[in-house]
Amino acid sequence: MAESLTAQLKRSPLHARHVAAGARMVPFAGWDMPVQYTSIVAEHMAVRQAVGLFDVSHMGEFIASGPGAADFLASVVPGDVHGMDVGKAIYTQFTNERGGVVDDLLIYRLQDHFLLVVNASNIEKDWEHLQSHLPKSGVTLTDASERTALVALQGPKAADTLQAFTEVDVASIKFFRLAQGRVAGHDAIIARTGYTGEDGFEIALPADAANDVWDKLVAAGSLPCGLGARDTLRLEAGLPLYGHEWDDDTSPVEAGFAWTLKSQVYYLGRNVLDGQQAGGTSRKLVGLKMLGKAPAREGYEVLRGETVVGHVASGAPAPALGYPIATAYVPADVAIGETLNVRIRGSLAPAQVVKMPFYRRSRS
């Protein structure tokens, strides 16, 4: 029974590497992925202090091309698609008519097309959403998820590590920019983006090049990291995760991402989001620093005094900070510095509302 369920899970081109390295494999969004190789804390700290390597090939890649591609994308995301020159990347969302979030994604502008990187858990939903808004002509949408491998090289030593394998001057790639070139002899898109709060790169490769690039980056000292560390790193960095901070009924304004609403044109849900920006929302996403030692976890009640005012969206011990942190949607009048309570197994645990990100890297 368990065996046949495992067999149905999709496998990244790097699957055999993970298994051979002794990683603990778990089902994630329909994929058999490594949650940790040795230790979540050690992997987390390697990214904060040196360099870690993640297989994120489970993420979906769509390609939008054709003369109408920019107009089409601009009609479904609040990011400034028309303002993207070749080599630019943006973080944005697919919004729905209610101003909620269908998914969050990165869009990369290449010479003759846009590359969209979406969450593994939402590939089919996103595809259907885009198809339902696709104009009759002028745009070709392709699902390149199967043939694309994606690895993330993250940490203060990422640039030095990557430079040894490419003729591209990686130091010259600015944050949220990309370059096309070769990595270890393989065609690659090298983007200075990530999901850890550190400097680093996300590298898209043909699926059959993934093992060679992975092996070379590991041999050069990158520590393989699993999805466990990816989650604690993104939480410390205050980066949202779909299904936790985002869903179809939460808006970018509520989540504190109004700064990503840069579009100059009409997009799905814009009327709702413009209204929220002008008139405010009834709730908002905040960061919580637990004042005790017990971690708050997803779904736990958040209380103001003894009144339940929200629920924890994400929560975990923060390895680089030494105390538990959480995110929660709470009433909009909750202020930074205010102490709320989280109900943990029946007891109330005090938590201070703090600014996000919880962790900010020092820039040298």
């Binding site: 949650v35 979540i40 466990g228 017990a294 971690p295 538990p324």
Partner: protein, 121 residues
Amino acid sequence: LKFTKTHEYINTEDSVGVIGISQHAVEQLGEIAYVELPESGKTYSRGEQFGVVESVKAISELYMPVSGTVVAVNSDLLDHPEYVNEEPYGKGWMLKVQLTVPAELAGLLTAEQYDSEVAVH
């Protein structure tokens, strides 16, 4: 040293048992970030939940291997949950209990039985 299928151990001397979690459980959990234990004086029946251990990712409940009254708690674990990783049978112990039904010990797994139990799963 005796074990439960839920990975607690108990080491009994006379009618007092020291309770913690097994080496195997520690390896499965990874770094333990938080341990929540009861106060001395509480009385439990066999199989009742007495606390939790939390790793970065997961929460695991702790169950009493036998019925008894808590006579000592390892309060060091609040500041040093890593003791459980380092020495689950030593400084990572959790509770000392006065057994109320010592005959329950006979129903627990021996080290050999526990090892073959975890080898299967």
